[in-house]
Amino acid sequence: MGYPHPIHPKETPVLSTHFGDAAARSYAGWVERGGYQALRKALAMTPNDVTEEVKASGLRGRGGAGFPCGLKWSFMPKNSGKPHYLVCNADESEPGTFKDREIMRWTPHALIEGCAIAAYAIGAERCYVYIRGEFTEPLRIMTTAIEEAYANGVLGTNVMGSGATIDMIIHRGAGAYICGEETALMNSIEGKRGNPRIKPPFPAQAGVFGMPTTVNNVETLAAVPHIVTRGAAWYKGLCLGSDKSTGTKLFSVCGQIQRPGNYEVTMGTPMRDLVVDMAGGARPGRTLKAVIPGGSSVPIMTVAEMEDCVCDYEGVMAKGSMLGSGGMIVMDDSADMVYQIWRLARFYAHESCAQCTQCRQGTAWTTKILERILRGQGEQKDLQLLMDLSENMTGKTICVLSDSCAAPIVSGIQKFPEEFEAYISKRRQPALSPA
């Protein structure tokens, strides 16, 4: 449901059914709502059958990359003789995205159940849930829920009487966007700076503590119990667009919009339905100008591009952007695109781990150049310089933070050149005072 709003007729609530229902937070409340039946069912299956079911459902990673979940699980070695780890990525920090927070706040046991099923499937006896440090409320709620799960035998040494051991440990982050990148996250668990690692080796070969590891996003894991209970065919049938994008997805619609919230829709739903029908479109007296559809790290779309875009991995890609995390930042005609792009670049400059030159230098210099333009001190050649820098920031670094900074800059200059020109030609008053 479009929490904090009532369910919209165009939504398909699966994960969000109990958002806003505080009674669903407790173990007893969760069991009353059908909770932990999926885990019981999974424990009676072989781990391989669980993985195959998830593979057949078409579930793809909801953290942003969209990698097929069951396939990722199948990469875990069999009989390796080593400890395996499941890591739940609850470091939700992508600007525009606030769905994992709601899953943890309202349905912590849905996440615990999903984690337990995934851990069983990949042969992991331990799951680390990495929650960003600023999420004080989800941290508190998850801590309580895990204690309850242990007390009721759904975690621990004999999960639901199956003989399986599954331990779950919360690891609190301490403020670093980059720790949402899975290899940085693993370093952070290990007690290191959150610098991303070069891949390969991939986590399934050598992940956290050098052991076979699967990292899944909160929303991905929360979908797993539904797939186990209702079957892969049901999940796969939730599809309005490309058959490569199945199930439901939470879209966090925010920014300059009438009803910001998390809307859960079937993959392939028109973007216009989300932005205009569900989230209410532009505020009174305003018109929509742009949408960043997948969290701040993807190319900006114009309203014209949004109008006939389909919300699935393929549909958004066909429009030159990415579905990403599903965090939709909406901007209306009052938004200053140059200012907003500068603010995003500043975000990436602040969050760069600084180990790759292109990123450390690129995020800082693009921020400075955009700042110069906003001070009314920009020159025509600055636009080409921004494009050149962006090109050198794309596809050249260990992780994609640098690419993420370049995406809004390049798309912004290409799609809203007149706003940059207005500052450079001094037709527009500087937004920032001179340095």
């Binding site: 920090s93 600007p95 600023e134 004080t136 670093a176 966090s252 602040h350």
Partner: protein
């Protein structure tokens, strides 16, 4: 690049250092050792324990943590300074973090920030108010963009803050 807004120089202890990890705190840390295959993995949790106990992480505390976990003080410092939430100097009795990243910025977060600076008397980001009550910083995306503007006062996560709401919100924090 220029210093991060809100950054301040590292603080110094003003009294002889009293160790954090003695008695119950040490037992609590040792209990964590069972949750990870290495002691080093307890570094972030140990630093949180230090900050909870002392309000900030001093160089002496870093040395103590290093000693307890079998690491070098330089390594610990490298980790502490990587993460934004560990305070490298003492802060006010209440620590306020205002999200001003784009989604909130589009909805007036900068006005909320200015209202908080004014109401607290901090005047500048990163500075502590003259009465020692508040320190205010800007924070990057708090992950509650649909509830612009979210702020954190200590561990209290407050949604949908507007400039007008600020003075009343601060009343409970003495």
């Amino acid at each position: 690049m220029s210093a991060t807004p809100g950054a301040a120089p590292h603080g110094h202890e003003t009294a002889p250092y009293e160790p954090v990890f003695v008695g119950p705190a040490l037992s609590k840390l040792e209990a964590l050792f069972a949750q990870y295959p290495t002691k080093q993995a307890c570094l972030l949790p140990a630093l949180w324990m230090v900050q909870d106990a002392r309000g900030w992480v001093s160089e002496s505390a870093m040395a103590e943590v290093a000693d307890v976990l079998g690491l070098t003080p330089a390594f610990v410092k490298g980790v502490v300074t990587f993460y934004t939430m560990y305070h490298l100097h003492p802060v006010g009795r209440h620590f306020i973090q205002v999200c001003t990243t784009s989604p909130c910025g589009l909805c007036g977060a900068e006005d909320v920030r200015d209202a908080i600076l004014e109401a607290t008397g901090c005047e500048e980001l990163g500075r502590t108010s003259p009465d020692g009550r508040f320190t205010v910083i800007e924070v990057e995306c708090l992950g509650a963009c649909g509830f612009a503007t979210p702020i954190l006062i200590d561990d209290d996560f407050i949604e949908s803050v507007t400039a007008e709401r600020v003075p009343a919100l601060l009343e409970g924090y003495e």
